[in-house]
């Protein structure tokens, strides 16, 4: 066969504006857990009890760590860029819920995803997306290994799915402590986040 550029089929991409209109029009089935990630519509996995418990525990721990002046959102949309509107498991944003009555927050001071085995790949894609958007503090709560992976200092990397990755990553054991970048005076025991 002669050499020839092979055409990889790609799906139609959607912008965030289109995605928000699709939601307003009620095109998706109610209860469909969909996120817009880099123009692609991704379906979230059905939520297990362990996964959800981890989300709740993380939210409570972060509420205590951040205190007033911050809002801890669970599975709430972030208007990240023109082709992305992810719904991180937990996100901490400045202000109060009313501040986002008209538009989703566009940045989060801390973003947490809870990961079980099968989804590590998708979570890594998300990590690259968050790095591209300049999110300063991204945590992946790894339920399989029972550790917290902390990703900071976004840096360009042409090999990453979205051209960016975190420049500094750290794996923190269940028995160790962590402080969010935006709440440096706090100290959270990782085991407090784990179900």
């Amino acid at each position: 066969m002669r050499a020839m550029a092979s055409y990889e089929p790609r799906t139609r991409r959607f912008t965030r504006a289109e995605y928000e209109r699709l939601i307003d029009l009620g095109v998706f089935q109610p209860g469909e857990a969909i996120e817009l990630i880099g123009g692609e519509l991704m379906v979230a996995e059905p939520q297990g009890a362990t996964h959800y418990t981890a989300i709740r525990k993380t939210a409570k721990a972060l509420e205590a760590a951040f205190g007033p002046g911050w809002d801890v959102r669970t599975e709430g949309p972030i208007g990240l860029d023109h082709e992305s509107e992810p719904e991180p498991d937990v996100a901490v944003v400045p202000g109060a819920p009313d501040d986002y009555a008209r538009a989703h927050p566009s940045r989060s001071a801390l973003t947490v995803e809870v990961a079980e085995s099968s989804l590590v790949l998708d979570r890594q894609r998300k990590g690259s997306l968050y790095a591209r958007a300049g999110l300063p503090d991204y945590w992946m709560l790894n339920l399989v290994d029972r550790v917290l992976e902390v990703y900071r200092e976004p840096a360009p990397d042409s090999a990453a799915p979205f051209g960016w990755r975190c420049g500094r990553s750290q794996v923190i054991d269940a028995s160790a402590r962590v402080a969010p970048l935006a709440a440096p005076g706090s100290s959270i025991l990782v085991s407090q986040l784990l179900p």
Partner: protein, 193 residues
Amino acid sequence: MKQAERPGLHRWTRHEYQRLIDHGFLDEDDPIELLDGLVLVKEPQHSLHRTAVLLVAKAVERAFGEGWFVQTQSPIVLDDRSEPEPDVCVVRGSPRDYVDAHPTRPALIIEVAQSGLRLARGRKAAAYARSRIADYWIVNLIDRVLEVHREPARPGPARRHWGYAAIETLGADATITPLAAPSADVRVVDLLP
């Protein structure tokens, strides 16, 4: 992993796909098709591809004659999650029979493939076989041959996906008889630009 193979991608139903068109997200003239719930952007059309489509349409129109019509790059309905637009397909009856709904079971589907050869042999062949399309041809512009796919077969120990059990590759000097037009002869050379 190929872009369109990732498991987490949202799969559209035909009903949702129709709403995307109705609300103006997709234009009926956009080069897209719904295959297995994925809204795929079609292979870019080069003049060589377009020429082949026109040649194929002309040749099969002549071969099938009365009682059939030939449509090019128009939708057909395979199942709840697939509404592809094959390059050429031969449908029984007349266009007026399909005023209210797209055709569902063409007697012959032909894809012209250049850079999209892998898609034509892979995901598309699987979708057509699953819908029991009996006669599926690929005009392979790279090797200038016709690949004839017949005998749709379900997954089993020998195969992971639906596919065709009988695949034959014909050179430009061969002739082929469509399953649904047993007295016709189509020269492969007439299909090639």
